[in-house]
Amino acid sequence: MDEREFREVLKGAVAGIHEDLEELLRMYMPMINKYSMRNGQLDEDLRQYIMIHVALNISKFGI
């Protein structure tokens, strides 16, 4: 994904477009997985909590 596409996806996610948010989450899944590790294992509940948190707060990001 080039920079222009990224900007469009980010704009869409901030505006509340589900597909763009999904795309963004997929793009940043390695980071989310990294923070979802507890005691060396992936915590599914924590990952879900983080994704919900991102979805609820993405609109606060100023482009």
């Binding site: 920079e3 990224f6 980010l10 940043y28 989310i32 923070y35 509940d45 909590y49 991102v54």
Partner: protein
């Protein structure tokens, strides 16, 4: 010019990545805080006095210190070696290591000098070490 625009867009991605990193980190902290194990506690005022004391424990201690009954030693050899010591030295060792009294307190109670307590302690420990070194044989 085109290069400048690219760098501006890169800046957006970098800024968002940083923002998301902080957001996710805080979300994790929040989650861990919410799911932390809560240890149920009871205020000390609400605990009945009987629950705080261990029945018979004090009696055991007093009996042990009084010298009338045998003191229980974790190591049998040490117990045997201890019995061989003179009663005065036994008493000083008990006061020092079981009752955890200071040499000056012991000297006051036994009406002797503090130096005497130190001397008796070192002699008693020496005897114990000798006895244990011989494999717990009697000192004779």
């Amino acid at each position: 010019m085109n290069h400048r625009q690219d760098s501006a867009r890169d800046e957006l991605r970098a800024r968002f990545t940083k923002w998301l990193d902080t957001l996710v980190y805080r979300a994790k902290l929040n989650y861990l805080y919410k799911t932390r194990k809560k240890v149920e506690t009871v205020p000390i005022e609400e605990v009945e006095e009987d629950c705080l004391s261990c029945p018979g424990f004090e009696d055991e201690c007093i009996r042990g210190l009084s010298g009338t009954d045998e003191i229980w030693f974790e190591e049998e050899e040490l117990g045997k070696a201890f019995k061989v010591l003179s009663p005065a030295r036994q008493q000083i060792l008990l006061m020092l290591f079981v009752e955890e009294k200071k040499p000056c307190e012991i000297a006051r109670e036994l009406n002797c000098s503090v130096q005497h307590v130190y001397n008796q302690r070192s002699l008693a420990l020496k005897k114990l070490r000798q006895a244990l070194g011989k494999g717990g044989e009697s000192l004779g």
